[in-house]
């Protein structure tokens, strides 16, 4: 990292400190923890775009896969629901695997010109056959105490485990998707991944037997110790006396946030270390060679398609870890909150602003953009309030401008992206060449 990069990070730290001093430490800690998650997601996307030049517009989908894994790992199982429909779901799953196996075998066996029709027939037959077991099973599961559960529940394991599993699930999905879509040209891949992410969101939103869908799953188990333990813990008493606060409730909130920050920081350091090592290894040089001149790299005997698959899977895994962490911190799984502007394109702004191909840049971008994204709301509110001061309080235009101020953040993100692309296309911390 250059001295200029260090300066940017120092400014960022000062901005967070200023938030703590002038707004509140609770807000500052909250922003910092989300900055860390954003940095991890930006690192994941940077692996795909910065190293490999892959245009993945489906970040939202892999975030959601990590999120749903966190929920499924941590929530306790619902025995009644398993009794009602667990067997049906399991049978459907087996049939799905069997169908895929039959299709793969059949494709080998039949002559070339029959391959497509046979596949189509088998897909349709398998689809209807599976539904015979699947639909009644889901209906029975959703009928079990729908007000409170109505889903199968999870595995009842520690939620921290999902940070690994979320990455693996996202990686598995990415492998399947990559197998189909990675042969596509850059902008086609962007369109295809945008579509996949919408489909993933539709699944987690409407497969109620698995995720409760739009009714959300709240009160996920937390990885942090319960409040009554924190209250008497030695380090907490020390921290409270150091801060000189009397407000135990606020101090506990801060302590909880600090635990998350430490955990997130550990993950960030691990992911960063591996990404940086990979980038500096022969593998990293090969990836950049493929990105910069695909044909030349192919001519040198590099297997472009499988290397692309590799970075796609790795990047999605990191994004999935980020998604699991996000849900862990929120303590709830809410499928309706996943919108592409926030979960896909915001991450893109982070990577482009920070400097694609540079891990320090991705982290910096994650920090800056999340900070601006959050602070744009109070700032926009203040700005609209100040610029309409001369109007009466009940003036409709003034009220409208103030209520719409929250959408300033979208405009701001667009302006940042366009400005960076135009005047500093290599980002704040450019890739070393």
């Amino acid at each position: 990292m250059t001295s200029r990069g260090a300066l940017y990070f120092a400014i960022m730290a000062a901005a967070l400190l200023a938030t703590g001093i002038f707004q509140s430490w609770n807000v500052a800690f909250g922003i910092l923890s989300m900055c860390l998650i954003s940095a991890i997601m930006a690192l994941g996307l940077n692996i795909q775009w910065g190293y490999g030049g892959l245009l993945n517009f489906g970040v939202m989908g892999f975030t959601a896969l990590g999120a749903v894994t966190a929920m499924l790992v941590s929530m306790p199982p619902i025995p009644e629901a398993w009794e009602a429909g667990g067997a049906g779901i399991m049978v459907s799953l087996m049939l799905l695997i069997a169908t895929v196996a039959v299709i793969l075998v059949a494709r080998r066996m039949v002559p070339d010109h029959l391959r497509t029709p046979v596949t189509v027939v088998l897909v349709i037959a398998g689809f209807f056959f599976i539904r015979v077991f699947y639909i009644p099973a889901t209906e029975r599961i959703e009928a079990v105490n729908p007000a409170e559960t109505g889903y199968l529940g999870g595995l009842g394991l520690p939620i921290l485990l999902s940070w690994v599993l979320g990455g693996l699930v996202a990686a598995g999905a990415a492998w399947l998707i990559g197998k189909v879509a990675l042969g596509l040209r850059a902008d086609y891949l962007a369109i295809a991944t945008l579509g996949i992410s919408e489909i993933i969101i539709a699944i987690v939103k409407y497969e109620d037997w698995m995720t409760r869908g739009v009714r959300n799953v709240t009160n996920l188990p937390r990885p942090t110790p319960p409040e009554f333990e924190i209250r008497v813990a030695e380090w907490f008493v020390g921290m409270a006396s150091f801060l000189g606060t009397d407000d135990t409730r606020a101090a506990i909130a801060l302590a909880l946030k600090s635990i998350f920050i430490v955990l997130f920081l550990i993950v960030l350091v691990v992911v960063f270390w591996f990404s940086e090592r990979a980038l500096k290894s022969p593998w990293g040089r090969m990836m950049r060679a493929i990105r910069d001149n695909r044909d030349a790299a192919a001519a040198m005997g590099k297997d472009v398609t499988s290397r692309h698959l590799q970075v796609f899977v790795l990047g999605c895994a990191v994004v999935g870890v980020g998604g699991a962490m996000l849900t862990t911190m929120d303590g709830q799984f809410t499928p309706t909150t996943y919108i592409p502007l926030r979960y896909t394109f915001l991450i893109w702004v982070m990577v482009i602003l920070g400097g694609s191909g540079n891990n320090w840049g991705a982290v910096l971008g994650g920090f800056i953009i999340w900070f601006v994204w959050v602070q744009a709301e109070p700032f926009g509110h203040w700005f609209m309030d100040a610029s309409t001061m001369f109007m009466a309080d009940d003036n409709w235009l003034r009220q409208h401008m103030i209520s719409g101020a929250v959408y300033m953040r979208y405009m701001l993100m667009g302006v940042i992206l366009l400005t960076v692309m135009r005047f500093a296309p290599r980002g704040l911390i450019p890739e070393r060449s």
Binding site: A181, G183, A192, I196, I199, A202, F345, G404, M411, L417
Partner: protein, 338 residues
């Protein structure tokens, strides 16, 4: 009689809605395919351009309604549409001047242009939500039905009715006019021929003395007009809501690629293929099959391939299958190199 009932059922729930939807997608896809063909990039901000045009239409419509202007039985929004079109053209031309022209002169890769369109998408999405808010707006204030299901049943004596909503007819008529006018323009006028030449082979077109700036400008004007029209028709037919337009990108892109990039005829065909597949795959054929089967028999299952929640999947599958099987589309479009 049973067969007639089955056909009436299918017409009412599949044919008519899918035709209206297809017409809306077609107008959107025409804009995307023109920009894809002439500026050679995937315009991800197209959805928000549509949204912006429809918003302008709605605002002007409200103004007219406030003044007591009405063209009942037609919806007032038809009077607002020209304003929406002008605003959308203003948006596309400004966007080109401020954002895209610089990159075009730099001769950057299509990816950079696509990325710039993401920036524009953010700005437009923010502006739309700031001006009109994220809530849904219903602007259909005209007569609701041309023929209601009840009238149809009385007329024909069938058990199944066919309802034709006025907005569906308006959608179809306006889309037809727009498409015919566009094809006339592209085939018969000098400017249109210049555009097609430029889209086919940029270097040859430049050698023949075609002014690229003029071609690009006309492409944006047409795109803006089509975008505002498509979004207004969609909002009349269903409802206006800002977040829908990002999701509509998917069927629009699917139609564009299916039809062959830079191929207006292909875009229209592609749009109807996408729309019909989407509606048919998500329609429950239970009663349709019931009419065709023996008396008073109805199948137990819904005979629905996919729930309507997964309609994106249809566009996506079409997209992937086309890209894998025939990447040039139905009508051989261009394959833009990276």
């Amino acid at each position: 009689m049973e067969i007639l009932n089955a056909l009436a059922l299918l017409t009412n729930f599949v044919l008519i809605p899918a035709t209206a939807y297809g017409a809306q997608i077609a107008l959107g896809a025409l804009g995307v395919t023109l920009i894809f063909g002439i500026l050679r990039f995937a315009n991800f901000s197209h959805g928000e351009m549509m949204s912006f045009g429809a918003m302008a239409t709605i605002l002007f419509t409200w103004l007219l309604q406030g003044q007591g202007v009405s063209i009942h039985p037609l919806p007032t929004a038809l009077l607002g549409l020209p304003v929406g079109i002008l605003v959308a053209i203003g948006v596309t031309l400004t966007a080109d001047r401020v954002v895209f022209r610089y990159y075009r002169n730099q001769r950057v890769t299509p990816i950079t242009l696509a990325m710039a369109s993401i920036g524009l998408m953010f700005v437009l999405a923010g502006l739309v939500r700031f001006i009109i808010g994220p809530e849904h707006q219903n602007i259909a204030d005209g007569e609701r039905f041309l023929i209601s299901a009840f009238e149809f049943r009385n007329m024909t004596g069938l058990d199944e009715g066919i309802a034709i909503r006025q907005t569906q007819v308006i959608t179809f008529v306006i889309a037809l006019i727009a498409v015919v006018a566009l094809f006339w323009f592209l085939q018969k006028t000098r400017a249109g021929k210049a555009m097609r030449a430029y889209s086919d082979n940029e270097d040859l077109a430049l050698l023949s003395g075609i002014n690229p700036d003029r071609v690009v400008k006309i492409a944006w004007i047409i795109t803006g007009a089509l975008a505002a029209t498509a979004a207004t028709l969609y909002s009349l037919d269903k409802v206006y809501q800002p977040f829908i337009f990002l999701q509509m990108l998917l069927p629009i892109f699917a139609a564009t690629i299916l039809g062959g990039i830079g191929q207006p005829v292909g875009a229209v065909i592609g749009a109807f293929v996408v729309a019909y597949s989407e509606v048919m795959v998500t329609y429950a054929f239970r009663r349709f099959v019931g009419y065709l089967g023996p008396n008073d028999w109805v199948p137990d299952s819904m005979i629905q391939l996919m729930s309507t929640n997964y309609k994106f999947a249809v566009s996506f599958i079409i997209l992937v299958v086309v890209l894998l099987v025939r990447p040039t589309g139905i009508i051989r479009g261009k394959v833009i190199e990276r």
